[in-house]
Amino acid sequence: MPDVKMVNVTIDGHVVTVPDGTLVVEAAKLVGIEIPVFCYHHKLDPVGACRMCLVEISPGPPVAQAGCIRPVADGMVVKTQSAMAVQARADILEFELVNHPLDCPVCDKGGECPLQDFTFRHGYPTSRIDGPRLHFQKPIPLSPNIALDRERCVLCYRCTRYYDEVAWEQELTVAERGVHSVIASQFDQPLTSNFSGNIIDLCPVGALTSRLWRFESRPWDLHHTPSVCSKCAVGCNVTLWQRRGQLVRVTSRENDDIDEGWICDRGRFDYTDVNDPARLRVPAVHGSKTTWAVALNTVADGIKGKGSKLGISLPQDLTNEEAFLFRRLLDGPLRGAKVKMHGRTALPAPSGEQLMIKDIDDARVIIIVASDTENDVPIVNLRVKKAVSKRGAKLIVIHPDAVDLDRHRETVHIRNQPGEAAAEVRKLADHELLHEPGGPVAILYGDGRGSEDAAGLVAACTELAAKVGAKLMPLYRGTNERGSLELGVAGWDSLDGVEALLSWGPPPTAGVPASVKFHAVWDHLPRPEHQNASVVLPATSFAERQGSYTNLEGRVQFLRPAVDAEAPLKESWDVLCELAAALGLPLDYVGIFPIQREAAKAFPALAALAQPPSPEPEPVPVLMGPARP
């Protein structure tokens, strides 16, 4: 860590010591002084467009200056409450409201809108605007998920800057100029990026809103639960918002170690199945509804003692606790069963020291092998982009097809024949970028969605890592693939020829084998494959589940239920315990905590389970970002 010079700044009489180069707005946050901002965002480069953050700074010219583009200097005195600064900010707010439609009652942002809050805290108490306002057609669907309201827009350029700097996409731009400037998608085509949803969180007004959540409820109606995204192995932190038993929206929850406040569109918009009225809620045997006891006994009878004739299909998002109970079943009554986990890669469990996601920031050379990171591990993809475009890392991609990381002009893309990535990795040791990397080297490898020989690739990557002193990161795809691998339940067996099938979650990708005579389904949605199932058990969705996931870097994170699993729905650990009892294995846990404690004892990788963090809900998240420089 290089020595950072610390400087003393006085803000409204409070002296604060911050690293040199800290922006005035960030220094003010440290002493709890609000300098309102629209265009400034702590994850985007400062731009100084909205002029909302005007403060008086001395030494300096006697005019109000933008605090969001001004780094602090030793001995600087900042006054946010001087008459000049207060008037300057009030003037800016008045300007912002000249053309604002003031349709707060119908705006989805109303209630958590910085423009509303700042107007109350920093604006003039009365309005002098009586003329006609500018009108635009609205709402404009930017994509199936995002609606744009140009009248509400304050042109902070956060969305276009995010698209440009963070997502490396060119889909969003500004058209026209002056007061007629509008945010527009390129050539009015719908947005297709996998990262488009973040602009909803970024928008400081109601200009960009979710169409899934459009007019669903007001923010003050919602109960929020901090949780973890269940769509891939990155483990982004999310906040789940619930109203009247419905999951109404998912927003990001900034964790600088993992997601830096971004989540992908799958994590943000792919939640409507939770509220599906067709959700399975009652167990059924041969199509007729019954009790859990009857259904579980039928399942137990059907799968007991089948040995290798029993096939089990596991979902990719089973929790560590469920995996642990399943492991007990596999060690006991279900010994010998063939297990196939959904959506997992062919990569083996990791060994040795691992690269953490946040270490990608500091890497000088990043090598990505056989992974379409944009779709497989989207937020890791954004980390790589940040390291390359903001921190000057060099990037080498080994992939047969074009990937979105090619958009950087300096990306070295080595196109391998499918299946020969390992050979290309071996050749890399002599690559010019790796002669003098000038810092850490990161190697991220996937399995090419099955096209590569995983074992050979891992060996080649490990060899290369040893040569150039790099750290490795396996890019798992399945949400809890890593945790399941560590618990030994992430099977990769073929289910062909099994007689009994327990299909947990979505049906096996290869379809239900024809040899199956007894088919038990445990799923949260009805599907065509359930037609001939002997038993259908209702499962919880990710919003009703509690437990933990191990993400691809080995971090154990807890997910919490945002929506109650209302009877007759049962939590999966409960179902597994009862199933075990029906199979003759008494798993007598009274709740999830004993399971976690026992799993923590049995598996060192799950030691974090011994002390789950307090389930107290966090304060209402500030969508503008945390008060932290």
Binding site: D103, P105, V106, G110, P132, L134, H135, F136, Q137, K138, P139, I140, P141, R150, H180, V182, A184, D188, R214, F215, E216, S217, R218, W220, D221
Partner: protein, 207 residues
């Protein structure tokens, strides 16, 4: 005996028996004539009431007049063109001190236009058993959609019937009340319906 501060109190009452009590007045001596006179005096009062005008209102056949600002049951109003005023903003529910209002909003479409703007109330329910008729909802409403009318006879035969649904609330206000509301200038001009959703890539319409 100790109080909450731990001080012991003397159980002795502060006033001794008889202390401070005014002496009994010296009464007149009882007599039969006096008793009869007293009885007649009482009956005179009673009889005189027979000939005074009756002030009792014969409810329910007759009802007392109520002030214009009387806060009875709620109504949801419509514009002249039949569109609902309510935009589903839930400010009434937010203002409600007892939480008896439930609003679930939805988006207007061209096929199904319920209110003039983008948003309308798909569900609007008031739990009249819980309502305290404070009128805050009426004050909070930005479009004068919800008003408290003059009716107060809200008895019914089951608790469920006291959840007033949107259909019930949309019953027309008594004409005199509606006329009074319009005369007071609370009527906002009927906004022209917006095309919704607009064509892709809409541009500015008017400067």
């Amino acid at each position: 005996m100790a109080d909450e501060n731990g001080n012991d109190h003397d159980p002795t009452p502060l006033r001794r028996p008889g202390e401070g009590v005014p002496p009994k007045p010296e009464g007149e001596k009882p007599s039969i004539a006096g008793d009869v006179a007293a009885l007649a005096g009482g009956l005179k009062t009673t009889l005189s009431e027979f000939f005074k005008p009756v002030v009792t209102t014969m409810y329910p056949e007759e009802k007392t007049p109520r002030s214009e600002r009387y806060r009875g049951r709620h109504y949801l109003r419509r514009y002249d063109n039949g569109l609902e005023r309510c935009i589903g903003c839930e400010l009434c529910a937010a203002a409600c001190p007892v939480g008896c209002i439930l609003v679930i909003a939805a988006e207007n479409t061209d096929e199904k236009r319920v209110s003039p703007g983008e948003r309308y109330a798909k569900t609007y329910e008031i739990n009249m058993l819980r309502c305290i008729f404070c009128g805050y909802c009426e004050e909070a409403c930005p479009v004068q959609a919800i008003v408290l009318g003059p009716e107060y006879e809200l008895s019914d035969t089951s608790r469920e019937k006291f959840i007033y649904t949107k259909e019930k609330l949309l019953e027309p206000l008594p004409p005199d009340v509606e006329a009074r509301l319009n005369a007071k200038g609370t009527a906002v001009p009927t906004p022209a319906p917006l095309p919704n959703p607009p064509p892709q890539g809409g541009r500015e319409t008017t400067p």
